[in-house]
């Protein structure tokens, strides 16, 4: 049961959930939650492949950097969202219609 397949399925589910959150949620923060899910899915894939296909450490390092980048991305993206909210008083994605801020 604990084969590569199950991990891939789990990561696929996570990925699809993330994509759905991006596509369907209208709150920008919810979209960012979806993004985190997607990043996690890819990190999981890296670690799973590392375990099942070759036993090097590089997959771990890759997922480590994915975590790092996800955190940085979350920080910057949320800052942008907050800025946007301060200007427009909304976090609805369809209100983000102007490039200038």
């Amino acid at each position: 049961m604990m084969g590569l397949a199950s991990y891939l399925i789990i990561s696929t589910i996570l990925f699809i959930c993330g994509v759905i959150a991006i596509l369907a949620r209208k709150n920008i923060i919810a979209i960012l939650l979806g993004l985190e899910l997607i990043l996690n899915a890819s990190a999981l894939n890296f670690v799973a492949y590392t375990r099942f296909l070759n036993n090097s450490i590089d997959g771990h390092i890759f997922s480590l950097f994915i975590i790092v980048i996800a955190a940085a991305e979350a920080a910057v993206a949320l800052a942008i969202v907050l800025r946007f909210y301060q200007i427009r008083e909304t976090v609805h994605i369809d209100d983000a219609t102007q490039l200038q801020g």
């Binding site: 994509v19 991006i22 596509l23 369907a24 209208k26 994605i93 369809d94 983000a96 219609t97």
Partner: protein, 731 residues
């Protein structure tokens, strides 16, 4: 010890890094910056001293040299630029002189500029300047030589215009910059010629001195003509124009006196000791080209005219620094004269000795100026008529200045005598041998007389007699010995003694140390790059940077002093006799000049005013610097250049505009008529309206996609990506 990048590069890099770091720390930590610059230059001095010791104290023979290159950039087989270092005896001595004198001047500058509000900036400019000069000394090729030369040009611009709040320094810096540019343009031409010739001879272009020597040794210039002139002459002329510009030779000497607007240590470092010497150094480096181009007569005339003209102008100056400025030009003239009469060795020797005593003189004058403070105008006083009797106030400065004046005047036992009289002696020989050289010979001797006269005029006016401006005199503080004011002066004045440069005290064999008669190290070590010397470059192979020096296969024998200079015994005897006459003559001349000055300014038995009124026309001419500035500005620029400008404008407006532009307009009108027809019919009707219809059609389709909803875009992106992945063949 081996020469690697680790112990060569810091010579240039230390002052340069001091400049870089200093430019960050200048605002906040000016004192620290000043100290750092001094320390950096002292570091260069130590490294240079080590090279000097290697070369001079018998490690290497006279014609040994070190040449190492690395590839700067490589653009294919025919265009590859190497940079590197070239050290021979001359470079070693120049390095030691520049870093040593530079260090002392920096030390003095911490005193002189210490209270200035832009002190640190001044120091870092000086540092960059020194880096440039050391780079010139180390360069193995004309290109990096030129680059460092321009670095110096920039620094000299910045330093002359250091007090940019006032108008005069700004103008002076601009003038210096523009005037030297003229020489630089010719220098660039020279570079192109060298590249071209080396490409023809070696198949690969190069700027290195050794390749240049190689080419000359292999006869690469033979038979090459350009515009009907031999190419060697052309190239030599171009390089010599660089010298003229940089070393303020006639007719481009006008910038140097104005350059005295900069702070006095600047004058000492740049306009006396080092930068102007770079021009002469260039002449010395490309001496084989000058010789191959048969330019030596021309060079000697330029040098003699400069030496004489500047000396005459120095007679009437009242500004203490102006006197020194003209004397600098004059002494540079002597050096160029030395090159011209073929006494390579003496010219370089005069470069070194002059750098030492002129730096010392400038620093002393700085010391004088700095302590004379006019309370009415709030500025420092440079005018000699307001001085007098100052030796009581500043004994050290007076002592040092007298010593240096003795040196520059060519009094025996001092360095000026050693070097200058060898030039004059050679000029005498050449003049007697070849009538063409007789005018330079005469002018040279007269200039030597004038030199002694005006130098002691300056000394007497400044330090002797009664104070002419009592208030100024009273305000002047009595000099106290301080390490950064007097120590550099004393050290420099110590090195104005002749015995450092010659084993015979006078350089002429008149007075000798017992047992050291063959220690004419200067004459032994600096070899004229004549045919014999150039022969070793015939099979030259360049050597890359490495950890270990690879000594050339030829084992150079240790050189020794050859009292006959390679001549036959009879000729040598003749030459020695003439040299002896020349020496005696110039000693006489020097003392005559000093005596005249004594009569005129101490005994007052000759009234200078009478001379000025009697020869008022000459006096005015000299005052106005032979009207060179007027000539350049009123005649050359206003009359010629402006006319030329008008002519160009007329060509532009009258011919080019009227015929070509308007004619072209007519042609265009014609075509535009037909183009409009085409536009109306083909483009508008078919193209534009048709496009509009098409756009309206696609609009219907695209409007659905271009919704402005970002998530919709995401959907499309995912759709496309997924579809693409679907089409991929999976292994």
């Amino acid at each position: 010890m081996d020469y690697t990048i680790a112990n060569i590069a810091p010579i240039v890099l230390l002052p340069f890094l001091a400049f870089v770091i200093g430019s960050f720390t200048a605002k906040k930590f000016p004192k620290f910056t000043g100290i750092m610059v001094c320390v950096a230059i002292f570091g260069s001095f130590l490294l240079s001293a080590r090279i000097f010791a290697d070369f001079v104290f018998n490690q290497y023979s006279a014609d040994y040299y070190i040449h190492k290159t690395f590839t700067w950039f490589d653009l294919g087989p025919t265009f590859k630029l190497n940079l590197g270092i070239y050290i021979d005896q001359m470079s070693a001595m120049l390095l030691l002189m520049v870093s040593g004198v530079g260090f002392l001047i920096h030390l003095f500058a911490t005193y002189y500029m210490g209270e200035d509000k832009r002190y640190a900036r001044y120091m870092i400019y000086m540092s960059l300047f020194t880096a440039g000069m050391l780079g010139v000394a180390l360069s193995d090729n004309l290109l990096s030589f030129f680059m460092f030369w321009e670095v110096m040009g920039f620094c000299s611009y910045s330093l002359i215009g250091f007090y940019y709040e006032r108008e005069a320094p700004g103008d002076a810096s601009m003038k210096a910059f523009m005037t030297t540019r003229i020489g630089d343009v010719f220098f660039l031409f020279g570079l192109l010629i060298v590249w071209n010739v080396t490409t023809q001879v070696n198949g690969q272009g190069s700027f290195t001195f050794v390749d240049l020597y190689n080419v000359i040794a292999n006869g690469g210039f033979d038979g090459q003509m350009l515009l009907g002139i031999p190419l060697a002459t052309f190239a030599g002329l171009c390089f010599f124009m660089g010298t003229i510009g940089k070393s303020a030779q006639f007719p481009l000497q006008i910038w140097l006196p104005d350059a005295m607007q900069g702070p006095t240590p600047t004058s000492a470092l740049i306009h006396a000791a080092t930068m102007v010497a770079a021009g002469v150094y260039l002449s010395l480096r490309v001496y084989p080209v000058l010789e191959a181009g048969h330019l030596l007569v021309f060079v000697s005339y330029i040098g003699a005219i400069t030496a004489f003209g500047a000396a005459t102008m120095a007679l009437v100056q009242t500004d203490i620094k102006a006197v020194l400025a003209y004397s600098t030009i004059s002494q540079l003239g002597f050096m160029v004269l030395g090159v011209g009469v073929g006494n390579y060795n003496a010219a370089f020797m005069h470069l070194i000795t002059h750098a030492v005593f002129k730096a010392c003189l400038f620093l002393s004058s700085g010391s004088v100026i700095h302590s004379l403070h006019d309370h009415h105008t709030g500025g420092h006083v440079q005018e000699m008529p307001r001085m007098g009797g100052l030796r009581k106030k500043m004994p050290y400065t007076a002592f040092v200045m007298v010593i240096c004046s003795l040196a520059i005047s060519g009094v025996p036992f001092f360095s000026g005598f050693v070097s200058k009289d060898r030039i004059l002696g050679e000029a005498l020989i050449m003049g007697l041998k070849n009538p063409v050289y007789s005018l330079p010979m005469v002018l040279g001797f007269v200039a030597a007389l004038l030199t002694a006269f005006y130098m002691f005029r300056m000394i007497f006016l400044t330090f002797y007699g009664a104070p002419r401006d009592q208030e100024l005199f009273d305000h002047c503080h009595t000099e106290k010995f301080s390490f950064n004011r007097n120590l550099p002066l004393l050290i420099l004045s110590l090195f104005t003694l002749g015995l450092w440069y010659s084993g015979s005290l006078t350089g002429q064999g008149l007075v000798k140390f017992p047992g050291v008669e063959n220690k004419e190290w200067f004459q032994t070590l600096i070899e004229k790059p004549d045919a014999h010397h150039l022969a070793k470059f015939k099979n030259y192979k360049s050597q890359a940077w490495g950890k270990v020096d690879v000594k050339p296969a030829i084992d150079f024998s240790k050189s020794h002093y050859d009292p006959t200079h390679g001549l036959s015994a009879e000729e040598a005897h003749h030459a020695h006799t003439l040299h002896l006459y020349g020496a005696v003559g110039s000693i006489f001349i020097a003392f005559l000049g000093i005596f005249l000055a004594y009569l005129m300014y101490i005994r007052k038995s000759l009234n200078p005013g009478w001379w000025a009124t009697t020869f008022s026309g000459w006096y005015q001419t000299l005052k106005n610097k032979y009207y060179f500035d007027h000539f350049y500005i009123d005649v050359l620029i206003k009359k010629v250049l402006f006319k030329f400008q008008d002519f160009i404008a007329w060509v532009d407006m009258g011919i080019w505009d009227r015929i070509f532009i308007d004619g072209w307009a007519n042609v265009n009108n014609f075509f535009s008529y037909w183009a409009r027809k085409f536009d109306d019919v083909v483009v508008d009707t078919i193209g534009v309206d048709g496009t509009g219809a098409g756009v309206r059609f696609f609009n219907l389709v695209l409007r659905t996609l271009q919704s402005g909803k970002i998530q919709f875009y995401f959907v499309v992106i995912f759709l496309v990506m997924a579809s693409y992945l679907l089409t991929l063949r999976v292994a």
